[in-house]
């Protein structure tokens, strides 16, 4: 085995699933377009002052409903605030709520789906009924109660909304995960892996999970968009973000009332929201395709 001539003849680097997926992604234009967009949005969320020097909180009523100018390229809203500055500064809270709540939902769904699908039987029955119970909670009612309970008085509500959305939206992803784990578990290659002495943990994470994860990723990318929008709904109802928070959802719900007078304060945050959701969905799609060798 330690024969140097043998070693020398092994050509190229070893191929792995992740390595091949990366080779595939590098050549995918949609991947690059969506990742550039995602990176821009993330930078905007972390460092809004790179994009605008205007202070979104300094508003002058004299500027009310003014059109675009060199200083404020998207114009001004009903309180005379710079729409561009507000939209850029709103990215942070929107993205934070969207990504963190989706991650939380994804983790819960992964645990429930994998455990229910892999162990089956009584474990499946208990966990699946758990999923059903959470699914049975009316979303708005549950969100109003959770979010209200979780947020303290002087709080901007970001953590409360994130946790609320995470706790209420994981069910469909868990069901998708469970069913694809059940499908993958009954495949011959899982029996073959067992026959070759694989441990239960190895079966679950090496053989079943990679074959079951694709639909789950798609559901999560869709959930990300839905959660960013759900934050807007909660904020509109007064149980979401408040105080200093400045999210696209808040801006959209505030601008709705004046949409016939001034469309820009509604249109721009909505456009940013739509572009963000689209970018994440395209990214998720590209990644899913890259991890399926049969599509290569």
């Amino acid at each position: 085995m330690s024969d140097p001539t043998l070693l020398a003849t092994v050509e190229g680097r070893p191929r792995s699933l992740a390595g091949d997926a990366w080779d595939d992604l590098r050549r995918n234009k949609i991947f690059w377009a969506s990742s550039v967009l995602v990176v821009v949005i993330l930078v905007m969320a972390l460092l809004p002052s790179l994009f605008t020097s205007a202070d979104p909180a300094s508003c002058a009523l004299s500027n009310k409903h003014k059109g675009p100018t060199g200083a404020a390229i998207f114009g001004y809203d009903s309180l005379g605030c710079d729409v561009f500055a507000r939209t850029v500064h709103g990215t942070g809270d929107s993205i934070q709520v969207g990504i963190l709540s989706t991650l939380l939902a994804g983790l819960i769904a992964l645990f429930f789906g994998l455990a229910a699908g892999y162990y089956g039987g009584a474990v499946d029955a208990v966990l699946s009924r758990g999923i059903d119970i959470v699914l049975g909670i009316p979303f708005l009612l549950g969100a109003v109660i959770f979010s209200g309970r979780l947020s303290g008085p002087g709080d901007d509500g970001v953590t409360a909304v994130t946790v609320t959305l995470g706790l209420l939206t994981w069910t469909s992803a868990a069901r998708v995960m469970r069913s694809s784990v059940v499908a993958a578990k009954n495949q011959d290659y899982v029996s073959a892996a067992r026959m070759l002495g694989a441990s239960p943990a190895r079966l679950m994470f090496r053989h079943i999970l990679p074959n079951a994860v694709a639909p789950f990723i798609v559901v999560l990318t869709l959930l990300l968009g839905a959660n960013i929008a759900a934050e807007a709904t909660l904020s509109y109802l007064g149980v979401g973000l408040k105080g200093d928070a400045m999210s696209w959802g808040l801006q959209i719900s505030e601008a709705r009332r004046q949409v016939r007078v001034a469309a820009a304060p509604l249109v721009w945050p909505s456009a940013f929201l739509a572009a963000t959701v689209l970018a994440f969905i395209m990214l998720g799609d590209a990644i899913r395709d890259a991890f399926d060798p049969k599509l290569r």
Binding site: M1, L6, L17, G121, D188, A192, M195, L196, G197
Partner: protein
């Protein structure tokens, strides 16, 4: 290179003089909502090193379930082994702890599946899947494991093995895939290989190549081979002994030429008569009348009695016929084996 195989050899109770594999009175049932399906009802057989035992029977007679029970990969629930022993060199595998059992799998007893495409993980390259075995079971380095994988693919005659190691299972043809499956099963040098209808999914010319390859690898390694099949033609070429199964029981066990020459059980006889023959062109094919029994409702006495031309009253009553020693190294579970042999 650490050799984990040494650990496997200290399996307590190993007796080098005991038969390589001995199955005694194995019972497997599936507990489903529609009742208990008795898939295996007292199967017994043995296997020696270098020997090929063919397990023959119609679909649904318990062949594959027996194989899964030996491997310990029966889906449980609903499958349960209710009685019997699976002895490897004298050690009853059914009594081992799951982690001990896992070390026996692949290291001592391995299996190849009917459909190699579904038995290989679609998201990993074949090289990765092979190399992973060496890394997890033998603690080899990545480079060593890869070289070993190439060697093994060479041994199963995959052309240009080194360049194909990065290909995914779906990029191989059916025959090549089954070769990969064989390579994986043989990777850890098992002493017993169970081949569950290894050529059923392949076309005829490829079937012959795969059977030839299996026979050759078996000779080189002095492996015991259990060949599960319903194809009498395949059996005649490669098997040393045959166990014929019907409704979860071994109804006849005999050296291969004896059985072709003079079957000792009416079911074996009927199977042989239903092989299409080239010299009898234009005539109607003989078929066994009736269907194999539902495993939830196996007939009393000899399970074959409703379809059997020899059946008389004792055949319809419990207990089932015992295994009569009808000749040296031959048994048949038929009260009327003399008549069957004589015809």
């Amino acid at each position: 290179m650490t050799d984990i195989k040494a650990q496997v050899d200290v399996l307590p109770g190993i007796d080098p003089r005991a038969p390589l594999l001995q199955i005694n009175d194995l019972h497997v049932e599936f507990r489903t909502r529609d009742g208990v399906a008795k898939a295996v009802n007292g199967a017994s057989f043995w296997l020696n090193p270098g020997e090929t035992l063919a397990i023959l029977g119609e679909s649904g007679c318990g062949k594959s379930v027996t194989a899964q029970a030996i491997m310990g990969i029966l889906d449980s629930p609903p499958g349960h082994i209710t009685r019997g022993e699976v002895r490897y060199r004298g050690v009853d595998l059914l009594k081992l702890r799951e982690d001990e059992r896992r070390r026996v799998r692949a290291n001592k007893i391995a299996m190849i599946f009917q459909d190699a495409l579904s038995a290989l993980n679609p998201v990993y390259t074949v090289g990765f899947q092979l190399a992973e075995l060496f890394r997890t079971h033998r603690g080899m380095s990545r480079a060593d494991a890869k070289n070993r994988a190439v060697e093994l693919l060479d041994q199963v005659r995959i052309p240009a093995a080194r360049s194909r190691i990065g290909d995914y299972p779906h990029q191989f043809s059916g025959g090549m895939r089954q070769r990969v499956m064989i390579a994986m099963a043989l990777a850890l040098d098992p002493e017993v290989l169970i081949a569950d209808e290894p050529t059923t999914a392949l076309d005829v010319t490829v079937q012959a190549q795969i059977m030839g390859l299996l026979a050759e690898l078996q000779r080189q390694r002095n492996m015991g081979l259990i060949l599960i099949t319903h194809d009498m033609g395949v059996v005649a070429d490669v098997a040393d002994r045959i166990s014929v199964m019907y409704a979860g029981r071994v109804v006849e066990e005999a050296p291969v030429y004896d059985i072709y020459d003079k079957p000792g059980h009416p079911y074996t006889r009927a199977l042989l008569e239903s092989i299409p023959r080239l010299d009898l062109k234009g005539q109607q094919l003989t078929a066994i009348r009736g269907l194999p029994p539902a495993l939830t409702d196996i007939p009393q006495g000899c399970a074959f009695n409703p379809r059997c031309g020899y059946a008389k009253e004792p055949c319809r009553q419990d207990p089932a016929p015992p295994a009569y020693a009808i000749a040296p190294r031959r048994t048949a579970r038929c009260h009327f084996f003399r008549e069957v042999l004589g015809d």
